[in-house]
Symmetry: C2
Subunit: 358 residues, 2 copies
Amino acid sequence: SDVKKIAVLPGDGIGPEVMNVAVRVLDRVAQKHGLKFEKEFADVGGIAIDNHGKPLPDSTLELCKASDAILFGSVGGPKWESLPPEQQPERGALLPLRKIFGLYANLRPAIIFPALTGASTLKEECISGGLDILIVRELTGGIYFGQPKGREEQPERKAFDTLVYSESEIVRIAKVAFAAAMKRGKKLCSIDKANVLTTSVLWREVVLEVAKDYPEVELSHMYVDNAAMQLVRNPKQFDVILADNMFGDILSDEAAMLTGSLGMLPSASIAESAFGLYEPSGGSAPDIAGQGIANPIAQILCVAMMLKYSFGLNEASEDIERAVKTALDNNFRTGDIYSAGTIKANTTEMGKQIIDSI
Amino acid sequence: SDVKKIAVLPGDGIGPEVMNVAVRVLDRVAQKHGLKFEKEFADVGGIAIDNHGKPLPDSTLELCKASDAILFGSVGGPKWESLPPEQQPERGALLPLRKIFGLYANLRPAIIFPALTGASTLKEECISGGLDILIVRELTGGIYFGQPKGREEQPERKAFDTLVYSESEIVRIAKVAFAAAMKRGKKLCSIDKANVLTTSVLWREVVLEVAKDYPEVELSHMYVDNAAMQLVRNPKQFDVILADNMFGDILSDEAAMLTGSLGMLPSASIAESAFGLYEPSGGSAPDIAGQGIANPIAQILCVAMMLKYSFGLNEASEDIERAVKTALDNNFRTGDIYSAGTIKANTTEMGKQIIDSI
Ligand SMILES: CC(C)[C@H](C(=O)O)[C@@H](O)C(=O)O
Ligand SMILES: CC(C)[C@H](C(=O)O)[C@@H](O)C(=O)O
């Protein structure tokens, strides 16, 4: 049908507050463009543990299956931190969702908004003119899901995990990265540890093969340890970064923090079908939850990514991005990005600024 | 015997130049303290491939076995870059040396020398008052050496690596980290990915057990992705960082680059017997090799680490550290750390400054 159904999962901490604003942005953009969305809310993460006994209740999963996209808030908090790892909100909700829906392509932009260059811990000269990196992370394979995983108790304790990649897993994520590079600066840096890992040797081999279909993209390869250095030394050398699940986890967080704009960064986790999960890169920020002061921009930009990647509604998506830019250009700032001379806004006020300029 | 034997392996690129100076520093300190060292030189890395057909020739290995420590330069360069991974200079020399000699404890200081705070890409306010992190990396286990490692070709290509840790491997490296913390700021942050990896769950469990013997050390645990962020956000929160082989590889390079003093950082890889390999953290810098302008300080501080960790000669070791500090305080700088108002020195001149103040 024409009506897209969205599973809205606000989660914990600041999740509900910022989701509230993001949904109003969605409503506004729908009204403007004459679009119809059906939104249905459900519990996920810590609140789902409290209400249903597990971080991803069956009812929530059913809703997701009946939907065209998942708009995800953030999960976790001190209350659930001492649970066994696999029952914790973040891991217990996200890992199954990724696997069940085949969300193999994680797109994580690491952008410094021109209005916010001061927020980075890097010196001005390293990031002058802004920073705009897209990290493409493989999300359903590698050491996260590889079997066998296990543990022995005798003669001494011993534990093991398996890092495994097949050709087809590498091909499909590499294609996503090359296609993204074509739409951007046409530079792709593929990360591996081919001097140590057998999987990395295959990774590099397959990426080189896929590269033949994208002759315009300038491809380079970098060891993960060097990449962790180069991001700090000269992040502007990167356009698109392609990495496996674990290396992508580490490097995307490093890159996101480098921007100093963690409260501003959305992420998309997409399946072959264009079904996707959209989630802010930052956490649930329990320290400021409930105060109405959280930055809603990451969550709002998740809506923009959803419109673009899952629904192909590029104009509506760009309308949101433009409105965010306008609010920042008009000097509105939530506390996390506030600096002298700008106008301090709470979550609702920032939302209003953005909604009003759509 | 009283005479310690040192295998000196200068390697490639700037290795021979800086080693030349480091050995003269060793001679000077030996003379001053009435110590005797027997030094024997051998090929390693690219030059060993050229001269003997492999990066770690049997003759070099025999020399190492007959020695009390290895003073290692740096290896690698464009000439050998297209060899298969396992034959390349770095990997082909270092990995076997680590395994054969059981060099399980890799100590990598990430220090900002007070004279050099300007060299970091981080803003002054993030590193004011200096930075002094010690990374303790497990070096002979984990995914680097875990079996099985391999590859299948049918029905499609597929490759796998195994991440494995036993209790005893974790215990011994944790002890090194706690002992180091006791001699420093008494803070230890253990890195893992216990929300995803079975090995990390065991890692955390065993580290907690070892902690009981070090009640004075304040222990924390951090996921590797968060650690990659926190190093950028606020590196001064760290004193000692403990990590497995792969996470330690990534984080130690990130931390080293944060200091902006890569040409200044030594590293030690130590066995249970106190036998050790001492190696600069930076690379072979082929771009400036042969020009006599490389910074010899990392290599010189490797001598200091060797005297301390393998030979227990703390006074002689501190003499070298003091002399390095004096040369910097007197404003001598090689090109990599030069800034206006300081005195530019080449490799030999910097060496002379250091030697003369021992
Ligand atoms: C919660 C955790 C399992 C997850 C991951 O490691 O993938 C998180 O760090 C992320 O990056 O989304
Ligand atoms: C050369 C390579 C195998 C090595 C490693 O990954 O351990 C290097 O990066 C290091 O850190 O010493």
